[in-house]
């Protein structure tokens, strides 16, 4: 029954591991960069002998890490700076599109050099959709660990929240955030956008010392995810997710269900962090191409497709009980063979 053309490329189901690697690298960089900056300040001050023993340990570790790559740490380590909200990589400045949008709303001006820095993320979102949420966002790293924790709790017999709200709420949050930014004259979306919060709070705690108010907000969103709605902040409230969803509405790279090999097991729906419906071809603009459904599919029935729109609903999977029940008369021998196998 499985034709070669219905097999996805064999590496696609391992992309989820690559995604975890990417998330871990981004998060590790957000932790490492403040330490590197602290090390830079020690180097710039020529102050090794004046440091406390713990600071000397930081100095030694960072020197061991960077010595093969840089000649003058105080200058060369400036190559990579910042976080996912806005950062600079060897002279290329990248910013979150929400930062550009929020800043334009707050100042009621269009500052095009800053929009240029958001151009690469916007272009990538137009092709890959909401990929930032699944592949880069440092808050996703913690949120997914949090939802794994929730499934452990559920396995242990404890109740965790699984309420559902309207996914369109986050567009209201985005619009209200821009309006409030324009009214108050400060970039308010930055105060509630988890990746921005995570990036700068890690810097505050390592580089300056002491958490800011954003940490409390982030802990609140973690509790919201754990106790009220699974991945609730990303699904229903995140303004950046709303913006990325809108940018990725007509994205080119999509996930498609191969109806010929699908057996209606619904594992994809269970694993989908964003509460989408891969089983009934319901991906939509919210899908962030995280490929978790591909990794979990037992019959390799999910693959990529290059198309600016989802394929319409294809009905029950051909290996599923429902489809075979409907088609026993027509295709009885094949179904019997499948059952025997």
């Amino acid at each position: 029954m499985t034709l070669p053309s219905h097999k996805p490329f064999f590496l696609w189901r391992h992309l989820n591991k690559l995604r975890w690697l990417t998330l871990s690298v981004v998060f590790a960089m957000l932790v490492l960069l403040p330490y590197l900056h602290v090390y830079q300040t020690y180097v710039a001050a020529h102050a090794y002998d004046l440091l406390a023993p713990s600071e000397q340990q930081v100095y030694d570790v960072m020197e061991a890490l960077t010595e093969p790559f840089v000649g003058d740490p105080a200058e060369d380590l400036d190559a990579i700076k910042g976080n996912t909200w806005s950062g600079t990589f060897w002279g290329v400045q990248l910013s979150d599109p929400l930062a550009a949008l929020g800043q334009s709303a707050a100042g009621m001006t269009l500052y095009w050099p800053f929009w240029l820095t958001a151009l690469i993320p916007i272009a990538l979102s137009a092709v890959f959709g909401r990929f930032f949420c699944g592949w880069v966002c440092p808050a996703t790293f913690i949120y997914e660990l949090n939802s794994n924790f929730a499934s452990w709790l559920r396995w242990a017999g404890l109740k965790v929240g699984n309420r559902h709200f309207d996914k369109r709420l986050k567009y209201v949050v985005l619009a209200l955030g821009l309006i409030l930014s324009a009214v108050t004259g400060s970039v308010l979306v930055a105060a509630i956008y988890p990746p921005a919060i995570v990036g700068r709070e890690i810097y505050y705690v390592i580089g300056i010392g002491g958490f800011g108010a954003g940490t409390m907000f982030f802990v609140g969103t973690l509790l919201f995810d754990l106790l009220i709605a699974r991945r609730g902040f990303c699904r229903y409230l995140c303004p950046g997710g709303a913006l990325y969803s809108l940018l990725g509405r007509y994205r080119l790279v999509r996930i498609r269900r191969i109806v010929e090999t699908c057996n209606d097991c619904a594992k994809c729906n269970a694993v989908c962090e964003f509460g989408l419906d891969p089983l009934r071809d319901g991906f939509g603009q919210e899908c962030n191409n995280c490929t978790a459904c591909m990794a979990v599919c037992p019959t390799d029935a999910l693959t990529f497709i290059l198309r600016p729109a989802d394929v319409p609903a294809q009905g029950p999977g051909h290996l599923g009980r429902r489809y075979r029940g409907e088609h026993t008369e027509i295709d009885g021998t094949a179904a019997e063979q499948e059952e025997a196998a």
Binding site: A74, R200, G207, I208, G212
Partner: protein, 204 residues
Amino acid sequence: MERRGVLQSVIAFASLLGAGVLPYGVSSLLAPGKARAKRNYLRPPGALKDDAAFVAACIGCGLCGEVCPPRCIRFHARDGAAMVNTPYIDPEQKGCTLCNKCMEVCPTKAITVVSRSEIDMGIAEIDRTACYPWVDRGVCGACVSICPLGAKAIVFKMWNQYQPIIKQGCVGCGLCVEVCPHPSLPIWVIERPHPTPQRNKASS
């Protein structure tokens, strides 16, 4: 019922607005304090002089702090959601060394690249009733020796007397505040009262 339908839609709209505003309300509740207007809190060098414009332009990415070699740039992390993590310099902790790295790295126009003599973070002021040399309690000269701008910013009153005098060339970096040994800090940085166009030239 016409009225009932209208009422329902009004309630639905209000609850939608309420749910949408909720995260912003929570974030401002978590940072309730108003921005502290301490006399010595400075904006980074090259920051827009109009503070409202600065707050509107700053996205709170923290890049200026992450490149600052003396780590003098701190952030309004708990001082009200309206300040959303905008940078400041507290010269009592650390003064600015005028290295210009924050200007170059700022992705927005909040901190613009200006030449060293056009930086205007403020101007230092000395309390002559407390400063040790001015009240004749010994020699000091710490502020004069640390000043990165030299004689156009701060000088001694006379070559053999250590009473410091602020000149109009001072840009308000706050290094003098950082090094001042007096416990009550008789030197601090204030808003420049009358910005003079010629202040960057060699003054009298």
